[in-house]
Symmetry: C2
Subunit: 308 residues, 2 copies
């Protein structure tokens, strides 16, 4: 199980009390931050998420509303005596900007920042993995270099008891060896591999922002349990969406449908919609499991989710 | 009359709901921003101050909590279609940082930013003036290059009626010419200069942050109607104040007393004081017109103020 918490759902021009792009994914005690608009450290504080629990930051692109909160966060992490490295997955120009503003390691920021720098020519690939999750990025279609992220969490390997008994597996040690990934031999000589009896459950989360609808967005969200997609505009403002290389709520819904996602959260709302439920209604005409991302709400990402 | 609005009164580590250093001075419809910690654009919004009313920004020094909110504000000003120049008075390294993050004029920020860059060797001088105010800066004592600012507002020249009548001035046109700054000749041949009959009223505001107590702080606040002075620590934590080149509330009060200021607002509070009234009480033992700066409160700065 993972948890997703939107911290900021406004596009560039802030309105009402909405924050700029920033999202938290929690997994096995670690916190992952996706984008980091100006003011994000105050929203993390409001969400009661300690800065130094952040393991890695994933930046989609270098428009100000998606990364300008990083400087303040890095300073605050340092003041909070962080020592463990922070992993920073981002377009390559970010490293130079951070060094210019804050100095190289040891001046203002006295803990290691490990950059995974994505060059403009980057198209697709794994950008992060640990014991629990694997993250891949795909280049999107936003005018400037921009990527979306897909997080796959391998859930605990569990031997399926029904399948196991059907194959004649009965001893506890046989179950244990299979769950460790070993192939076993039964008394009758038959070999049983883990693949035959283990449920390989995955939980999948996808973050798609900012972009025109595109195949990369569909690939990112393939079978996602929860996908977040920008919906800056309504389809009634499609010309504006095309001109600014953004998506409409309808575009996002089509991506969700093509990807076979289970649930879609819409975000990155233009200031022109005082009531964003019009965007939710628009998306639901195509993909009924669409919702407006609600700031500070905790969304459980669960492979057992079957829609609302 | 000027108005002063504190937006953020926290020192580097944010606590409770306090913001990072940022203060607004309003004068004749213009807004001046003093320091600009991370998140300032959201606090300006909360204070209902439109970004594009800001005429000039005065940065004291380049510790992150005093300037990292600038990037987001510049982007938002541009999105709000600002065209008129923004004047940026700051340590010289700021310009390079802004250019590196946001690009030179025309890329992200498409209005002119006019830098008044203060070199590390700067000690004292006028840094800004317009029809209403004159601003001087003094280098303070904070380890890295840091300046405080003194704002003098020349109030409307008014001919003092009592003085004028005593000198034999009776005609409206004589009053008018004197108030325009002209010397007049009375029917008996006597010359009267404006200095003899005009009240030269000034309103004085001073911003002193961050610093050890020093003569420059006293000079900045000389006869100030309102002075703001950092009070990061209590005098009971004096060793810490000295080590980090900050002032205690008691230090600030002594500066206010030496300067002959009318009112002192304390700010830039360390996270170690959950209740900052201890700092107010400490300052009041020396300078009774001391108060904790209250975020979002509007303080009138008035030369007629006689203490509370």
């Amino acid at each position: 199980m993972m948890e997703f918490i939107p911290l900021g759902t406004s596009s560039a021009s802030i309105v009402q009390d909405r924050g700029l792009s920033s999202y938290v994914l929690k997994c096995n005690g670690d916190v992952f931050l996706f984008d980091c608009g100006d003011g994000t450290q105050f929203r993390l504080r409001k969400a009661k998420i300690r800065l130094n629990r952040i393991q890695a930051v994933f930046i989609s692109h270098l428009h100000g509303d998606h990364y300008l909160g990083l400087f303040g966060i890095l300073v605050s992490m340092s003041l909070a005596r962080r020592t463990r490295p922070l992993i920073m997955i981002a377009p390559e120009q970010l490293q130079h900007k951070i060094h210019t503003v804050l100095g190289i390691h040891g001046e203002v920021v006295d803990f290691p920042v490990e950059y995974v720098s994505l060059e403009d020519s980057f198209e697709f690939g794994e950008v992060y993995s640990d014991h629990h999750i694997q993250v891949t990025a795909h280049a999107l279609d936003h005018g400037i270099f921009c990527v979306g992220y897909r997080v796959e969490k391998q859930d605990q390997h569990r031997v399926n008891g029904t399948l196991a008994h059907r194959l004649g597996i009965t001893k506890p040690e046989e179950f244990q060896r299979l769950s460790k990934g070993e192939t076993i031999q039964l008394p009758d000589g038959q070999e049983i591999s883990p693949d035959q009896v283990i449920n390989q459950e995955k939980t999948i989360f996808a973050y798609v922002s900012d972009t025109r609808p595109c195949q990369a967005a569909v690939d990112l969200a393939k079978n996602a349990d929860l996908m977040v997609h920008e919906a800056t505009f309504s389809h009634t403002d499609e010309k504006r969406a095309i001109a600014t290389k953004h998506a409409s709520a309808l575009d996002a819904a089509k991506v969700a449908q093509s990807a076979g996602a289970k649930k879609l959260l819409l975000t990155h709302f233009s200031a022109r919609y005082p009531d964003v439920t019009v965007l939710e209604n628009e998306a639901c005409t195509i993909f009924p499991h669409s919702e407006i991302a609600e700031e500070f709400r905790v969304y459980r990402i669960d492979p057992d989710f079957e829609g609302r």
